[in-house]
């Protein structure tokens, strides 16, 4: 299931032009991170993918469906959107009811709903907490419930809006494993994030937005090395990339093994 964006322009009712002509494609199974400062348009762009916003000009197609012609509720069968604040979604008395809400809305059979819910609960580490009231759980676990509630919809495309904000290390690791599992299943994952280390370690493609336009779009190890361009949209490269730059290494390492690799090669070169 791919996403095609064709010369997308969008202005908010107040008149502010938030997107100034964006054209891009996200292919099935890609892992894409959207980065950029507040107001760069990243959230505005991503909200077009599930139809929450409709283009002022241009078009957005999801698996061939023109988003202007399909309701948000229908697009929800193709695009799952995990909102930043779980408290904006949770309303059920138990975790299991909450996680069942999405697939039930999509009209799946009870056995399928049960299976999808089970899978989502296991993926997010919530197995065993089915009967808990989400509001009795800590904010970290509430985030997992909100995440499970979208995963259970089993959409081919999943969008994460700032998934690591306020989360501790263990939680970030858990979110990363969910993304890895989704990648295994061939799902398309799009995230909005300003955690560049998380971005580097989990996403193969990075799109940097600034002033409603695409500033950079390419493989993570290219984009995250463009410190000056990223600075234009208030994005700082990940820790390891900064370190590599200081050491004068040629590579843009996205992970610790990649960094150590780059060091090994640097030593061998000099030897």
């Amino acid at each position: 299931m791919n996403i095609e964006v064709e010369d997308l322009h969008f202005s908010y009712p107040g008149g502010v032009e938030a997107l100034c002509g964006i054209t891009l494609r996200v292919e099935s199974g890609e892992l894409v991170a959207m980065v950029g400062q507040n107001g760069s348009g990243k959230t505005t762009l991503v909200k077009h993918f599930n139809g929450l916003l409709k283009p002022s000009r241009g078009s957005v197609r999801v698996g061939g469906w023109d988003t202007r012609a399909v309701s948000v509720a229908r697009l929800a069968s193709r695009v799952g959107y995990v909102f930043q604040n779980p408290d904006d979604q949770l309303f059920c008395k138990t975790v299991i009811e909450e996680v069942s809400f999405g697939p039930r809305n999509l009209g799946y059979a009870p056995e399928k709903v049960e299976q999808l819910v089970r899978r989502a609960l296991v993926m997010t580490g919530l197995a065993g907490r089915e009967g808990a009231n989400p509001y009795d759980l800590s904010p970290t676990w509430r985030k997992m419930v909100a995440l499970a509630a979208v995963l259970s919809m089993d959409t081919p495309i999943v969008i994460f809006d700032e998934p690591t904000t306020g989360q501790d290390w263990q939680s970030v690791v858990r979110i990363a494993s969910v993304i890895a599992a989704l990648r295994e299943e061939g799902k398309t994952v799009i995230t909005i994030t300003h955690d560049m280390d998380f971005c580097a370690e989990n996403f193969a493609r990075v799109i940097a937005l600034g002033g409603g336009r695409v500033l950079l779009d390419g493989p993570a190890n290219k984009v995250l090395g463009e410190a000056e361009m990223l600075a234009q949209t208030n994005v700082e490269p990940p820790q390891l990339v900064r370190l590599a730059k200081r050491l004068g290494l040629a590579e843009t390492p996205l992970s610790i093994p990649a960094f150590v690799d780059a060091c090994r090669r640097a030593v061998r070169r000099d030897a």
């Binding site: 309701s71 509720a73 909102f83 604040n85 408290d87 979604q89 809305n105």
Partner: protein, 258 residues
């Protein structure tokens, strides 16, 4: 972002300079006098001879008439029509259509009710246009209104627009989970729980956080509070208030006797 969060218009008029309680007393006085006074034309006179001139003196005439046209006239017009058509009794028939009867008596009664309502609401609008909410609350608190009540009123005024924004986010989040919000009435009613639930729970969480935050600013300290905004209470204010109270009592007496 909405910077205009209240009805209040900043001007330096004599009405603005009046003590907030004086203006509040004016509202109550107008309401009570128009209800107690036996004279039929009381409300209309109060509106024309008191409220309208005060909006001009208060330099908020334009805004007042805009609000009146938008809000008051449609509402009171509707009430007038409804009362004229549906008030029972009435001998002198003016007009008849199917089961609807309009009699002189019902029109007269409708006029009385509508002018009373118009008088009440317009004086309240005058109050809101010329009084900053903070000032009103600070003044009332100083006179004995419990601090928590004042806080709840005023924070609600500001937080309501924010809650609206939150409601929009919740609607978006639930639609993204496949919730249909358009369509049949049943569907819309069913959609209410997933929409109202997070709004209520989320708001409760926020209320608790805010309660702690204002505690950190010594909100429930037992010391007498001071106020950055200076609120004057002149002898004119005090005289005016006593005068208004006197008029209310007078109108009550006239009603009882007359």
């Amino acid at each position: 972002m909405h910077e205009r969060l209240s009805f209040y218009i900043q001007r330096n008029s004599p009405i603005h300079r009046l003590n907030p309680l004086t203006k509040l007393t004016l509202v109550f006085a107008l309401v009570l006098i128009s209800f107690f006074s036996p004279w039929y034309w009381t409300s209309l006179c109060l509106i024309l001879l008191v409220v309208f001139p005060l909006t001009v003196i208060g330099q908020v005439g334009r805004e007042f008439f805009a609000a009146a046209l938008r809000l008051l006239v449609p509402v009171t017009g509707f009430i007038f029509i409804m009362q004229s058509l549906f008030l029972p009794g009435g001998e002198t028939l003016l007009f008849r259509f199917w089961f609807l009867r309009v009699s002189l008596e019902s029109v007269a009664r409708a006029f009385l009710i509508s002018t009373r309502i118009f008088g009440m609401v317009s004086s309240f609008i005058l109050l809101l246009l010329t009084t900053h909410p903070s000032e009103l609350m600070t003044d009332l608190t100083r006179r004995g209104l419990p601090g928590t009540v004042a806080y709840v009123i005023i924070s609600t005024l500001q937080i309501l627009p924010q809650m609206q924004a939150k409601a929009q986010t919740i609607i978006a989040a639930q639609r993204s989970r496949g919730l249909e919000v358009e369509g049949s009435l049943i569907r819309r009613v069913r959609a209410l729980v997933p929409l109202v639930g997070p709004l209520v729970f989320g708001s409760l969480v926020e209320v608790e956080e805010r309660a702690i935050a204002i505690e950190a600013r010594a909100f429930s300290a037992t010391l007498p509070k001071t106020s950055y905004r200076e609120i004057t209470d002149t002898s004119f204010d005090r005289t005016a208030r006593w005068l208004m109270v006197g008029l209310v009592v007078l109108s009550l007496v006239v009603r009882i006797l007359g």
